[in-house]
């Protein structure tokens, strides 16, 4: 039954929307469904019944000719995205966000674990000497890093097969309205996740301040807590951002201008350079110079820099137009 309605949706996807066509489509659907049910009653299998119904559908141009509707030439060239594809993409994007977010969280936990173990053994010289403590921390960190890298690869592969979404595509009208409704309902969740994430980001340095205030020896613990809470915020951004991104991508207007594409490309490139660089600088100044107390400001600076690059492009585009 579902197949028949999807088939009809696809047949009508290239046609304009008007009440006459809507009625016609409903009529066709009920006729086809009735035929299908009768074939099933006669003992035909699901596949046979659907096959017969579809083979007896005919030619949509016969209808459009009668109604005086021309199929616009350009419209036919643009591929139509099926409902199934769209939902598979949404699911993949969501799961990819989950794994990327978890990977980042895990990587941050790795650094935090290392810091904690290193400091723990240095300050308290428990049952192991200092060197072994550092070693243990390093091993733990790299195990977590390896798991994180595995998650990144897994998430990247999940999205790899959706290259066709980079091209221009069209959504069937019904799917478009369903997605728009979905995005509308999702907006609340997304906003909440963003606010929580921003709060976590802004409040996370408090861990460092607090440990500085209590005792300088405790700073590495503060940094660990800072890293984990900041990573939790990043997780929220990535996971919920990916779901929002899936909606935006599916519902975007097909006429994406080259300038806009270029802008997206540059933004992605800036992000890909600035953030790993900031992280590397953060870890370097921390481990080599032990300036955990102050080097976290690298992240807000990186945030401002990427923000400025976005603003720069918006201003540039305004000037051009």
């Amino acid at each position: 039954m579902e197949t028949i309605s999807v088939y009809l949706d696809n047949m009508f996807a290239g046609l304009p929307r008007n009440p006459d066509l809507e009625r016609l489509k409903r009529e066709l659907l009920s006729g086809m469904e009735e035929k299908y049910l009768e074939l099933k009653r006669e003992g035909k299998s699901e596949n046979e019944a659907i096959g017969i119904v579809i083979s007896e559908f005919g030619n949509i141009e016969e209808l459009t000719a009668e109604l005086g509707i021309g199929l616009a030439g350009t419209e036919q060239v643009v591929p139509v995205l099926s409902e199934e594809e769209a939902y598979v993409y949404m699911a993949a994007k969501r799961s990819s966000g989950l794994w990327t977010g978890l990977g980042i969280l895990l990587a941050a936990c790795g650094v935090a674990l290392f810091l904690v173990l290193d400091t723990l053994f240095e300050n308290h010289s428990l049952f192991l000497d200092n060197e072994s403590g550092t070693m243990l921390g390093l091993i733990g960190m790299f195990v977590l890093f390896a798991a994180a890298v595995g998650m990144f690869i897994h998430s990247g592969m999940k999205l790899g097969r959706f290259k066709n979404l980079e091209q221009v595509f069209r959504l069937p009208y019904a799917l478009k309205t369903t997605l728009q409704r979905g995005q509308f309902h999702y907006a609340r969740t997304f906003r909440l996740a963003l606010i929580t994430g921003v709060c976590l980001c802004v409040l996370s340095p408090i861990f460092i301040f607090a440990t500085i205030y209590v005792n300088d020896d405790l700073v590495p613990y503060g940094v660990s807590a800072f890293l984990v809470s900041a990573a939790a915020a990043v997780f929220l951004f990535i996971y919920y951002g990916n779901i929002q991104g899936a909606y935006t991508k599916l519902l975007k207007e097909p006429d994406l201008t080259p300038e806009k594409k270029e802008e997206e490309r540059i933004t992605a490139a800036v992000n890909a350079v600035v953030w790993p660089l900031a992280t590397a600088l953060f870890l370097f100044t921390g481990f080599v110079y032990h300036r955990w107390d102050i080097n976290w400001v690298i992240f807000p600076i990186a945030g401002v820099l990427t923000g400025m690059s976005n603003v720069f492009h918006i201003v540039k585009r305004k000037n051009v137009s």
């Binding site: 009625r23 006729g31 559908f57 209808l63 000719a65 109604l67």
Partner: protein, 108 residues
Amino acid sequence: MISSDVIRGYNDTMILYMLLDGESYGYEISKNIRQLTQEKYVMKETTLYSAFTRLEKNGYIESFYRDESFGKRRTYYRITPLGLAHYKEKCEEWKVTQQVVNQFIREW
């Protein structure tokens, strides 16, 4: 299998015939055509519904809703006096056509 080119001019006539004895709806009409022709002719869905559109536009049939069991609402069609006149014309036309074509058909 009947070529759709040949029969195209008489799809409307078949539908009008099916409505002669009373109102009916899309699937029932197509099913009856199939049975009446011993499955030699199956009218495609798009052919059926473009014919409905055309016939209604010309005033040969009129449609109305009727509620069925289980809350289903069907579109029914009934033939109009104009449609009946058109049908009679088509019958005459076919008789002539048949006579003409038959002149060229040799029985083997």
